[in-house]
Symmetry: C2
Subunit: 241 residues, 2 copies
């Protein structure tokens, strides 16, 4: 079976807006997380969609599903963990309690604050994870990236043609992800901000799925402005004189 896992465990402080996690802010006529959820609902290869939200916001999330008339049959809300990977593990535990363990379960993990993910990206994720066990969505890097070990002098400027900006979804054979995660140390876990790194740490291959520059993560107020312009389909014509 294929499971969507929308990760929204955070209570978002970077936006500089108090009171409400950023995934619940409106974009156009509905909250960011509802836009994101609708992309997953569109994909009929996905059997069930889990949403991991901070424990203080599970009731609010459920109310949103009602308010925006989302069919709840395929959707489960679970409590988030202390970090992103722990939220994913909570979701996996929820799935396994309900649907049992299976080598063929695949989980498509996605940031709630990336509402512009496309159906093509989700489908490619499913195909790659089914075929190879793990994949990450990434788009060719635009900026020159500079590496510095001490923050003072440049150590290297890696060849940009080999660099990609990591996005989500990140998709995995669920049981494998869980087993690998359980076999890394607590200190390693505490610094792992990225689920794909769990595979890399254990020398397991992670395949690339082609991302899109439009698949932005809404983290700052600037991102939010861009996202608003994108939702409006705003056309700002360049002017010359």
């Amino acid at each position: 079976m294929i499971f969507g896992a929308i990760v929204a465990g955070g209570i978002g402080s970077r936006m500089g807006v108090s009171g409400i996690p950023k995934q619940f802010m409106n974009l156009g006529d509905k909250p960011i997380i509802i836009h994101t959820l609708e992309k997953f609902i569109l994909c009929d290869k996905i059997n069930y969609i889990y949403i991991g939200v901070h424990k203080d916001w599970t009731v609010y999330m459920d109310d949103l599903l009602d308010k925006y008339k989302i069919d709840k049959e395929r959707i489960f809300i679970v409590k988030g963990g202390d970090d992103r990977n722990k939220t994913i593990m909570n979701i996996i535990n929820g799935i396994e309690k309900k649907f049992g363990e299976s080598d063929s379960h695949v989980i498509v993990t996605h940031d709630a604050v990336r509402p512009f993910v496309t159906l093509r990206i989700i489908q490619d994720n499913i195909d790659m994870a089914v075929s190879y066990g793990a994949c990450d969505t990434a788009a060719p890097a635009i900026d020159t990236i500079v590496e510095s070990n001490d923050g003072k002098i440049i150590s290297s400027i890696p060849d940009r043609r080999k660099l990609y900006q990591g996005q989500t979804p990140q998709s995995f054979k669920m049981k494998k992800l869980k087993n690998l995660y359980e076999n890394i140390s607590e200190s390693e876990k505490s610094i792992l901000t990225d689920a794909c790194k769990i595979f890399l740490l254990k020398n397991e291959p992670v395949y690339l799925v082609k991302g899109e520059n439009s698949n932005i993560k809404i983290t700052t107020i600037e991102d939010y402005k861009i996202a608003q312009a994108m939702v409006k389909g705003e056309k700002i014509e360049p002017n010359f004189n």
Copy 2:
């Protein structure tokens, strides 16, 4: 002496707007390149400012200086070269013809399409280049960066805390930059998109100057939209319900 070098040699095709290079598009009430130039004019540590523009646009550039009533006493326009580094070398040759060679000349090279550079960034560049010979402006990386040698499988996910997004200015002791550049092979020159890499290739240290996320490069139509919002000082209030 300290020289500003505003690099605008391109005729910009990525914007999808034909007819006019992007540095000449208006932001608010004046062209992008005029915004950029004004930042350099503000810095009184800079003795002269050179602008490298494509040969077809030098007259247009000169007309812009008149139109926007820029005092031309400190400003020279020179023809750009085939790539960014060649434009910089044309500027250096222009400077040396007029002011002679000197070990103490410093050049502050900057993208014409980064109009949001700050006076603080320019001044830090000057101080660093005077003290250490070479520096690059960079801001901590926001995105997770993924490395792939073959474009299919992830080779590594470098520690984000060591990664920076390269910006400009990039500033150098002029004579040293020129000497290093003259001592690299033609094939190396052809793949060098970044002036700092000239120093790295020759194992010369390049120091970091703290950039700002607002110091964006206007390359795509999306960048242009963001820049327009920034110039307007547009306040888009988040809305929740």
